[in-house]
Amino acid sequence: MVLEIQKPRPIWQIMFSTHHTDVGLLYLITSLAALFMGGALALAIRLELFFPGAQIIADSMTFNRMFTVHGTTLIFLFILPFASAIGNYLIPIMVRYKDMAYPKLNAIAFWMIPPGFALIWLGFADFTWNAYAPYSIISAPGPAADMWIFGLKILGVSSILGAINFIVTILKCKHPDLPLSKIPLLAWAYLTSSLIMIVAMPTFAAALLMLLTDRLAVSGFFNPAMGGDPIAYQHLFWFTFHPEVYVLVIPAIGFMYEIIPRFSRKPIFSHSSGVAAFILLSIVGFASWAHHMYASGMSFTEKTVFMVGTLAAVPASAMHVFNFLATMWGGRIRFATPMMWSVGGIALFFSAGAGGVVNSAMPLDFVTHDSYWVVGHFHLFVMGTIAFGSFGFLYYIFPYVTGRMYNEKWGNIHFITSFIGAVMIFFTQHVLGLYGMPRRIFDYPPFPEWIAMNQFASIGGMLLGVSAAIFLANMIYSSAKGKEANMDDPWGIGGKYYYPYQQKNPHH
């Protein structure tokens, strides 16, 4: 059953609609636009870092603005909206309800994204996506910085509204015959990540407001010249954004829970284990934030507490990996494009987590803090796990949304080039960090090892660029002229493509 269009409708009707499928489509298009725009910035960054000295970027201020907007865009305008897109499409179906709990609020939550997008991209601030005080207060020029603050404020509210909608729909609107323990793991993923979001996000909303009043010099929360403490900002920021990284990764794990059992033609190894792992991760995820601040001057006891909190979250993630592998074991696997992305995603998720354990160990963090090791580490998560899981799910949902099949061969090529490119860049960056290269630098001294590794990573970046072009071409061409999909079983794997309760768009 095709969701997006049962018959062609004016685009304005989709824009003003409050139906979950239409809002889902709007989120999807916006997030993919952000993916390409933020990715283009990354490509420019890797080109610039190919040699020491200025290559294509004229000065360091432009470079600083580029990596700030790159990070901000991909996190707030790609990953979160993409998760909202899939959530909007599928949550009502998964809980067997007709729409989201609050359809109008849902549409409002989406429409806050374009203004936030515009504010961030027009301003193009330079203070990194962390916006640490006091640089963001006394040194970052405006109006770019203020626009970023306003943009993120709007996006934060949008996320909270969306999270409320997801939680209420799942908990309160689910079909009476459907017990909570039996809703699909993807729905559990949305439930837990939305709960984390509404607990964690308000802290950052407060921090943003304080940042703004500090910039205007009417307050001195984080400005030492006015009696404030810059480390307070870091606590507020990371209290939100460490749990936030779980908000980013949990939906992607949920995507894999949809794809892997179906393409292995086997049920998930342990549904209850998956549920337990999601719940455990969301709770323990709040106990580790200051592992981002080991070098800021914390006491030994403080650091120990956060190290324990960090390590405590690892078993939950490990449970998911086990679940996936145990599901695939003994299954009759169909290695179509969505499955490739999911398996590749698990491999990189595991690598990212392993590197993370190194960072969590207090003394080892002094080697890796704020170096390219960290860049490699988190990109293995956001690109290797989240983006890979998202691409896989996008290919999976493609027939559902458009009624056509994407080109399988080019989808596989997209995966292979992306996987190789990601490994080339992000594994190398771990080593680059061990050699001491700091983050966020426009230029570096001509140490031969640094040059060689940067060049290797940049070649990987070019590969990712090529794969993105392939992806874009595949998506556009296949939407327009792809082979018509068999809506019952697009990959011919046997079994159900989707849930028994199919959704109808009331406009049709």
């Binding site: 059953m1 018959k7 515009a118 809506m487 019952d488």
Partner: protein, 319 residues
Amino acid sequence: MSHTEHIEPIFRTSPERTAKMMAIMLGISVVGAAIFFGMWDYWISAPPVAGLGPAAQQPTAPVAVTGKEIQVSLSFVESADFRTLAFNALPGEPDNNPDIHANVGDKIIFDVVNSGKSFHAFGVTQEDEGFTGIIAGSEIASASNPLRPNQSGQSEFIPTKEGTYYYICTVPGHREQGMVGQIIVGPKQSSGTQTVKPTGASHNFEFNFVESSDFRTLGFNALPGEAGSNPEIRVKAGDSVTVKVTNTGKSFHSFGVVTNPEDFNSIVWNSAISSASNPLKPGQSGDVTFTAGATGTYYYICTVPGHSIQGMQGKFIVE
């Protein structure tokens, strides 16, 4: 599943629809790009209000130095139970928290020693309570890096307005426990002990701001160590001086003649060209004409914080 799918035909996305979608996205991007690139400089043009520092947030008239210097010796003292603190003597005894009298433009030189057993720090503020608003140049140590017992330090303060200033211990709470005294500032004397009559002579100086390629060493005309760097200037009191500066570097600079080469706020005689918050960009020039004041050794510096220490300072001697 069978109850839904046997009736309705399945519609698939069409090329026209895809093309329409791509056209809308491209259109939005083009408009956005036009706005962004068309105003490229604007988005990063304004330094934040908080970053300009207390001096710029309440712009004051440039300091006109009278040449008079007032030496003040202070010591931090504590009661035996540490509950009462003061300068020089405890309350009730003579010389407790002595008042300092001065006029606008006088230079008060503080020599402060920690005669107690605890930690202290020093500063002058206009605020009548608390430990913030310390005027640049007047601070000795700080709350987080204080003077230990028997340590001492010096600092200077030139009041720019009539009224009451306060010298305090800047460790939070110590002011409230008694470590505060008043500086009572009277109006500017119309003629100081050294009157400066314009001599009629005039000088022209030109300086270039130069930078090393790694931005770590800076200088006027040449880098420190090279020939012609930071030339020494000698004029007579009352001479008219015209200075033209050109920014031949890649960074931002500004100019001023100061009494203290490490205090970029101690500009005298209205000799500033641009300022740290509104500096000269690469390639820009500026000029200023002023009358050299009372005899003494002054310095001409780049008034962007840090640049003077990195080498952009030279002697400006008034004879």
